[in-house]
Amino acid sequence: MDRKNIRNFSIIAHIDHGKSTLADRLLEATDTLSEREMMDQVLDSMDLERERGITIKARAVRINYKAKDGQEYILNLIDTPGHVDFTYEVSRSLAACEGALLVVDAAQGVEAQTLANAFLALENDLEIVSVINKIDLPSADPERAAREIEEGLAIDASGALMVSAKTGEGTAEVLEAIVQRVPEPKGDLDAPLKALIFDSFFDSYRGVIVFIRVVDGSIRKGQKIRMMATGRVAEVEEIGVLRPEMEKVDGLSAGEVGYLIAGVKDVRDSKVGDTITNAKNGALEPLPGYREAKPMVFCGLYPVDGGQYEDLRDALAKLQLNDPAMVYEPETSSALGFGFRCGFLGLLHMEIIKERLEREYDLELVATAPSVAYRITKTSGEQITIRNPSEMPQPHEIEKMEEPFVSTVILLPPDYVGTIMDLCQDRRGEFKNMQYLSETRVELQYDLPLAEILLDFFNQLKSRTRGYASLDYEIKGYKATELVRLDILLAGTPVDAFSCIVPKEKAYQRGKELVSKLREIIPRQMFEVPIQAAIGSKVISRETVKAKRKDVIAKCYGGDITRKRKLLEKQKEGKRKMKQVGRVEVPQEAFMQVLRVEDK
């Protein structure tokens, strides 16, 4: 088809603002899927995604549409992940498009993620079509939403489309707007092949399936190709489009979107953002914007049952086939035994991986508190990066320590600005900017240490604003700060899994909080358990879990026996689920709770 009849677009929106529902309506209205074929929200294909209501990996769908001008168009809808952890993936998906639908909930208004993703779209020179969704809600205020788009993004929202994806109202106008307002793809048909990889995943039957947008030239079955960043050369075995099921075609040319299979067994050979070109006489310059996905958040994952170590290793290897952003290496903890230090893009990414390991691979895991990667310059001049507090050198060996910072955007109603500024201040934030988007929405910008974001920041933000604030952030870089390692001792023995790196000026307070938190979590044992927080050899806080005094079934007669046996079984199972640390039995959640802070 003529390129002037192709439109490549994404939908960007905050979680729950109706992106998936709108996508469903577009597929339905164009008969891309009949209603009967239609499962709700087709684009979210993983169970976990559907349960959490978020889209983790990008997918693409080709829509055939006959416009009001009587012409046939191909609309390629490229879905984007909807979470801060996947900003890079979002930016690559957007780079494959010429336009984006910016969906804003008419009742909720603009949220931090809307802004962040819309800015990404603007950076990629996309034409933005504003869509105000959920206009059927009684609390809808489309005018306010439009005003917030104009204030927050400095784009004209006067032509915003009024839509209810739920009822289907306005869907037809959206399709027309895509045709009329999103530019046709440019690109040189005769130039050497340049195709952008915007997603890839591993299928156990077919190997790696790569999603591409052809920018220049063309690609066909049998062609030899080269991935420019990894240098990997392969032959195209199959090429096709997604409708949304895979449909083979002979080839794709500049402007088109589809998939290819090239006998690649490892997703790491076809990385998101990489450029595909001809193996011979290929393009000289790759497409801009590629970077390695870099894990920013780390935690230890340990099997509750040491016998599951091998299973955990196999499971991690399998998950990595599909998710090269997750990294892992073996690690040993004196408290938890053998496990792995795993790196993730962010907190959500971490939670998803842990949940998948437990659910899909039937593993029972203990996760240590998440940590960031610190850069240390030793007095010897040596530079190291540590991902686990236990790797921190002795204080006298440290010349300088740096930690990653993020620039955050927080959108919230004006009433809560004070409390959130307090929160950011308390979290060592550096105020950057504040702006009113409308009378009900303020944009706050802070630079914050990433470690502070991991420290229950999101929950605090939500609870302090009764759920009205939203947050987005991106990595800014490293900055020198004063940090110390806080150790926790149980019954006199340091427990490495509880160690954490904290800002020096807060060490005392954190130590106290941690010790009192652990005192609540650790159940009474047969003996007294002192809990201490220490920096180096100096104990800064101490509490005691009193010894258990009595634990015996008082009554046990003929009718009680079966019931009492069950009670004892339950007690035994509860014990089994505890992690034995020295003589002390510690509930699994204690290891994650380390970084949960009370709201004061």
């Binding site: 005094r549 009595k550 015996v552 079934i553 008082a554 009554k555 046990c556 026996i561 046996r565 004892l568």
Partner: protein, 378 residues
């Protein structure tokens, strides 16, 4: 020799901590229920005779509830007659009945004694009126003492008093005072239970709603230790976790449970165990009555595996302060106990919770931490 248990599931009012199979407001069922009991006894006896390779002479009968003394004592007489008609009864049979103080009168006691009851278990729970109120008991401390005296007057010379400690708000001094007054009455047997908050009880709800404070574990532990010491000084033998007896006055019937002996339960929700089979009756009194008429009232049958039997012998047997006879274990299961539970036993010995010579038993520390020990054998 099996023991026989008879369940009377009726109460004037259910106590707040009670999770037994008992009901108030079913007065109209008394007659039909006793009829069903008599039928069940007649119905089951032949089958029980056939299924047991042991002799079926009965050396203990226990009538529990509920409040067995709530129903007409003539009904109790009828039930005991039915048992005597269908089973051979040993000459020295122990026949116990549970009674609440407000139901004890000289006349009633006399009828029961005449019917063959020779052991009385009176539910005092406390001799503090505030504590009695917390538990929702229908009697006062005074009534309890009067009831005891009336029973004595009738000629009962084997009386147990049931007590509960660790009642919300109860102090050690308060508990000590109850214990002192009770020992002055000079009963033959005492059961002293640490209050347990059972799921689904009124008390559990009251605690959840913050109306009543949770019993303090430390206070209960102190009370338990105090009880053991104080009753020893008063001449009671501490022979099971919660039970104390004057010489020769241990409860033969209850020992059957802890010795893993056979027993037959009659009545709604009653449990039985014969050899390696455990079974229980339908719990609802109305349903039970109907089911007996239709010929079978059994709700659940559980086959015990060898492992179940071994672990039960341990977690029941260790409730007795004298513990378990190792020879008996070996004879019964063909393997020495140490071959089955060696690692657990060694670990428990190291932790000072059990000792063993010719018997395996809880140490005085082990008595406080019975569940730590029992759960190792599950």
């Amino acid at each position: 020799m099996p023991a026989i248990y008879v369940h009377i599931p009726f109460c004037k009012q259910k106590c707040v901590h009670c999770d037994f199979n008992s009901y108030s407001g079913l007065d109209s069922l008394h007659r039909a229920y006793v009829g069903a009991l008599v039928s069940e006894i007649a119905l089951q006896a032949p089958a029980l005779r056939n299924s047991s390779d042991n002799d079926l002479s009965v050396s203990s009968v226990y009538i529990g509830g509920g409040t067995p003394t709530l129903i007409d004592p003539a009904h109790i007489d009828a039930v005991l007659h039915a048992i005597a008609n269908h089973f051979s009864i040993t000459r020295d049979v122990e026949v116990s009945i549970e009674a609440n103080p407000e139901t004890i009168t000289l006349e009633r006691m006399a009828v029961l004694k005449e019917a063959g009851v020779n052991r009385l278990s009176i539910g005092f729970q406390s001799l503090d009126n505030r504590c009695l109120q917390v538990l929702g008991r229908k009697h006062s401390a005074m009534q309890a003492i009067d009831a005891f005296n009336a029973a004595r007057e009738t000629g009962f010379d084997n009386i147990n008093i049931d007590l509960i400690f660790g009642i919300p708000g109860q102090t050690i001094a308060n508990w000590a005072s109850t214990l002192e007054q009770v020992t002055l009455l000079d009963p033959e047997h005492l059961s002293c239970y640490s209050l347990t908050i059972e799921p689904g009880t009124v008390l559990e709800r009251e605690i959840a709603m913050g109306l009543v404070e949770t019993p303090d574990e430390d206070v209960q532990a102190d009370m338990f230790t105090y009880t053991i010491e104080s009753l020893r000084e008063s001449g009671f033998e501490h022979y099971e976790i919660s039970n104390y007896a004057k010489l020769g006055k241990r409860c033969r019937h209850n020992l059957t449970y802890w010795n893993n002996g056979d027993y037959i339960g009659f009545g709604a929700g009653a449990h039985s165990k014969m050899l390696n089979i455990r079974f229980s009756n339908i719990a609802s009194p109305a349903e039970y009555i109907k089911s007996v008429e239709s010929g079978s009232c059994i709700a659940e049958v559980i086959d015990l595996s060898i492992e179940d039997e071994m672990s039960e012998m341990l977690f029941l047997g260790l409730r007795k302060t004298e513990g378990i006879n190792l020879e008996e274990f070996k004879t019964r299961f063909g393997r020495p106990l140490h071959a089955v539970y060696g690692a657990q036993v060694d670990d428990l010995i190291r932790n000072g919770l059990v000792t063993w010579d010719d018997r395996l038993r809880l140490t005085s520390r082990g008595i406080l931490f019975g569940n730590e020990v029992f759960s190792r054998f599950i």
